[in-house]
Subunit: 335 residues, 2 copies
């Protein structure tokens, strides 16, 4: 081990409102040694995801919260540097939930070998990772996508949104993305082939949806909640499906979440709003990755990562998500 | 014609907030004469429904609003007193959308003959009418009811709610009703066989739901919206279904509808919220009526109407719905 120590971000307090550096303890621990059946992994890239904000809160959710004093939970990609596990050898590239730290110990559960020749490691945290899986099963299964649908996705330039829109395009749909800022909107239409993009920072979203979805919205894939969800509800087509994937606009609230005031549009339009958690589809990740990798090879599915350097920047880099400053999958390079 | 004139309530203004008498013109018109292919009906019972409040508002909904100056729309049951229509004879009992008036002209469209020997006329406005159809298709189709479900219904002592709960009991479910006041709650448990009833006027609904639904709520059938919908959202079981049938707590709002702040429970619990409009099932009303009439004969499905006398009381009687003063189907007897 050339590295003398293992830098770790541990949760120090449950954040109130926006996350800040003082919510964590940044500590140096000795590099751990793998026990029987364990591997030691050198993290190379950390996945920064909106869901991390929820993991910091007390209370029942789809997974337990990160405990106070525990290393902050994060998906990561890295290399095996020591192994007492029959399935993993030194030099293997792996992804798993490995935490915001330089080194992680794993018993192999939830640890997946990946091929860095097929795609760069950060892609396994994005389009070929949880965000990509979320997009794939969210739009195809939960959204019950049909080829003549008009699809709207919010957070469209984010890790999940960019994939949702491209899959819908591949399937023949009309796709409208909602994102913040002219650069992101240009990226959606010019690079990813979206039919239209709405800049929620400078446009009236409801009016723009009306203009770009003349037949109404058949599938609305929601990553943001708040006012944008409410605007989408006013423009539903009959039998519309709303996929509730996240609500990034609400995660740092210190007051109650803003419920969708226009939810009675579900009644008028016989529409469905359904929540999803990607872990439910774990048994089918392989199938999805194979199809997505195929689309990537054919040039139909593009992927973009927003890579920030330096483990020590973790708290500030995480905030980029909530400020809407990332385009594509936000990744922290551990160095 | 012994009646010298046709009393009518015409919409005079679009109500702001709670409906009041001055929102209508109460007029006397000559009794109309049926033209070719038309029938004249003497209305006997008018159906008073929460949906009527929505019909008075401007703007797009699932049916056009009642126009200013138009006779207020209402379902009704009555007798044919003159006919130039081959399908209807004088003396036939019929139900249809016949308006808040003594007499109505119909071309036969949407007019259905009913058998007053099988059930009293008011039952055709309730359990064997639109509310019963709403309950039947709402709980069985939209709610995807399964026999071991825990079912919660709000507005449980109302026209729709009482039928929803009883159908769920017939199907073997655990059924919890939410209603306002001890009398209604006693009616639900003692008369209709609900497993439990929650008095939202005197109990903490969230706590009571937790107590009465130890495995969580599998199907929540919502007639009321507002705080009660939000309480139900906190107690969902995995893969729960929420049927959005109405939101009577919000219909007279002068401010925005209260959206469900806890809607992210849909995500955590992979749950579904779906809106319904009963008209979509029109082709299958016959099938539902046959099954419901069978349950009524067997004593498994009880029905209760709250009958108020006097067409002239229409505006005040309608308010009983929004004040939660009716138990069972609210019907206005035309006399």
């Amino acid at each position: 081990m050339s590295q003398p120590s293992n830098r770790q971000f541990k949760l120090a307090h449950r954040p109130v409102g926006m996350v800040k550096r003082s919510d964590f303890d940044f500590v140096q621990a000795p590099v751990p040694q793998p026990g029987d059946g364990e591997v030691l992994i050198r993290n190379r890239y950390l996945s920064l995801d909106p869901a991390m904000r929820g993991w910091m809160n007390e209370g029942k959710s789809y997974i337990p919260p990160v405990a106070i004093g525990e290393v902050m939970r994060a998906g990561a990609a890295g290399e095996v540097v020591a192994s007492n596990h029959p399935r993993f050898a030194v030099g293997d590239s792996v992804v798993g939930v490995l935490g915001v730290q330089d080194y992680a110990i794993s018993n192999g559960k939830g640890l997946t070998k990946v091929d860095p020749k097929l795609a760069p490691l950060p892609v396994y945290l994005g389009t070929l990772g949880m965000p990509g899986m979320t997009a794939y099963f969210g739009i195809l299964e939960v959204g019950e996508l049909k080829s003549d649908d008009t699809v709207v996705v919010s957070g469209a330039a984010g890790a999940v949104g960019q994939v949702v829109g491209q899959i819908a395009r591949i399937k023949g749909c009309r796709v409208v993305g909602i994102a913040g800022g002219a650069d992101k909107c240009r990226y959606l239409t010019d690079e990813l082939g979206f039919d239209a993009a709405i800049d929620y920072k400078s446009e009236d979203v409801k009016k723009a949806l009306k203009q770009h979805c003349p037949k109404g919205i058949d599938v609305y894939f929601d990553n943001v909640g708040g006012e944008i969800l409410d605007a989408a509800l006013t423009q539903l087509a009959m039998h519309a499906r709303i996929v509730i994937c996240g609500a990034i606009s609400q995660y740092n609230n210190t007051t109650a979440v803003k419920g969708p005031s226009n939810y009675l549009s579900l009644l008028v339009n016989r529409a469905t709003m359904r929540g999803m958690v990607v872990f439910d589809y774990a048994a089918r990740y392989g199938e999805a990755m194979a199809e997505m990798a195929g689309w990537m090879r054919e040039g139909k599915l593009k992927t973009r990562e927003d890579i920030v350097l330096g483990l020590e920047t973790f708290p500030e880099t995480l905030l980029k998500l909530f400020k809407g400053e990332n385009t594509g999958k936000l990744v922290l390079k551990v160095e």
